[in-house]
């Protein structure tokens, strides 16, 4: 029964993604379902065309840059891990995470990482430079946590 999404994702993989991104078990399986529905070629990866098939994304003026952010340097396909890693930047910061002063690496959805993600969307030639003043302005005044977060349902 059921040859669809959730049976193709192994438990170990779900655990690894959970640790890396902070999404819950049910969120990961649901997002996997979404990933497979976008994957028209059914080869386990998404291409740029798969993204461009979403009309709301196609009319977004920054749509192309967003799509680019999913693909590592020079590659044309993104697998589910990469997909989740990019989406993880938009997970809301939970209260119990805010006060963690962990010496371990920062979670993907921390304020800094959200800003870094947004920065990279601007820095098209990936040389790590955009105007300093404008960046400072963003760092000071903008509610980055709210503007760069999506409410994923449990």
């Amino acid at each position: 029964m059921g040859s669809r999404a959730s049976t193709l994702l192994r438990e170990e993989e779900i655990e690894e993604i959970k640790k890396e991104t902070g999404f819950s078990h049910s969120q990961i399986t649901r997002l996997y379902s979404r990933f497979t529905s976008l994957d028209k070629g059914e080869n386990g990866t998404l291409s740029r065309e798969d993204f461009q098939r979403i009309p709301e994304l196609a009319i977004n003026p920054l749509g192309d840059r967003i799509i680019n952010a999913f693909f590592p340097e020079g590659e044309d396909q993104v697998n589910f891990r990469g997909f989740m890693r990019t989406l993880a930047h938009f997970r809301p910061i939970e209260d119990n995470e805010k006060n963690k002063n962990s010496s371990a690496s920062e979670p993907l959805n921390s304020r800094t990482n959200k800003l870094l993600f947004a920065f990279r969307l601007y820095d098209l030639d990936r040389d790590d430079k955009i105007s300093r003043d404008e960046l400072l302005q963003v760092l000071e005044k903008v509610d980055v946590e709210q503007k760069m977060s999506i409410r994923f349902l449990h």
């Binding site: 999404a5 009319i59 601007y122």
Partner: protein
Amino acid sequence: AEGAVAGAVFQVWVFVVLFLIMLPAMFGLSLGVTGVYIQVLVKILEWATVRIQRGRMEQPSVPVPLPNGIIERAGGSMEEEIGELRNSFALSDAFYFYKKGLESIVDDQVTQRFSSEELASWNLLTRTNQNFRYISLRLTIIWVLGVFVRYCILFPLRITLAIIGLSWLVIGTTLVGFLPENSVKTWLSELVHLTCYRICARGLSATIRYYNKENKPQKGGICVANHTTPIDVVILANDGCYAMVGQIHGGLMGVIQRSMVRSCPHVWFERSEMKDRHAVTSRLRAHVAAKTKLPILIFPEGTCINNTSVMMFKKGSFEIGGTIYPVAIKYDPRFGDAFWNSGKYNMVSYLLRMMTSWAIVVNVWYLPPMTLQDGEDAAHFASRVKSAIAHQGGLLDLDWDGGLKRGKVKDSFKEEQQKMYSSIIVGQNGINKDANRF
């Protein structure tokens, strides 16, 4: 001895089909068997739902399908989120577009309309079993019984009825076609069409409820409905006679179409004619203008949508003139998935799936007739009718084009978004204060 048994079985079969199903169907009567069947089904499905919910609580690893999507969208318009009349560009403006873009990647309003609706609870059909695992022995037994009933009992019955219905349509309309044009011919033609569609409806175990019959489409009008499946035609034609509109096909479909048009004027186009919008419109206009002809049946979405929403109505149908009779059609997904995903299934496999579902349960609402108002253009009128249908049928009213199933979205939409944004940062004067800096 075997021959006698086979002969007896065959006789019983013919008796059942002819007298218990076909004849009552032709006269629009019902023996009540389907009603009882549906009630029994509902009880079983309700029990199954409860059982599955109990099973889910014991198996927390299986995700619960969410009716409203994966994310909760904080809906603000571009003006609200970016800030009105700021008259300058800020780096952080991009966040609005990033967020909207990522939200649409996770869950968008359009692509989900072109595949079957996900059910909140399994309805014991193999094909809808996406996220449901083994839960209990009793459930599995019921499922196996269901497979047996559907494939070995219902399916042969339904195929027989469908064949009888379609043959009757072809033969009947050809015979009526020999008559001279008079009121007898018209009456006979309507009888043939109605009885054939009624037999076909029985061939799908269709239970149809019509509401507001006083608004039924009249001669010389245009009937407009949301489109989910080719079966929509059978559903509507069970209660009235319509002039069909469409492209002439080859093969079996073509035979049916050519014989139908002998007994009453349907509007069939050659493939080359379909491309010429002007020719199509003028032919339809001529049909409507002769007020004695049957109402035209048109599906303005242009393609099958999965019955959770109504997508953009193409304005061509609304430029013909005449009175529009909107009709809303809503299928009950518990008993079978009526949506035809033409990319995934061809017509034959789709019909086979339909005939092995539990049943087709439909609600049809006839809405009050609408006409073009003064100063209104066809696109706006189309939108108005669409909203009325969506509202009545409990469907989501979307402005997206159903053609996006196969094609790309037009660049002009992206340009609209860009225009909206620039009007925010440039302000009403059209002059950017900061431009003087450069």
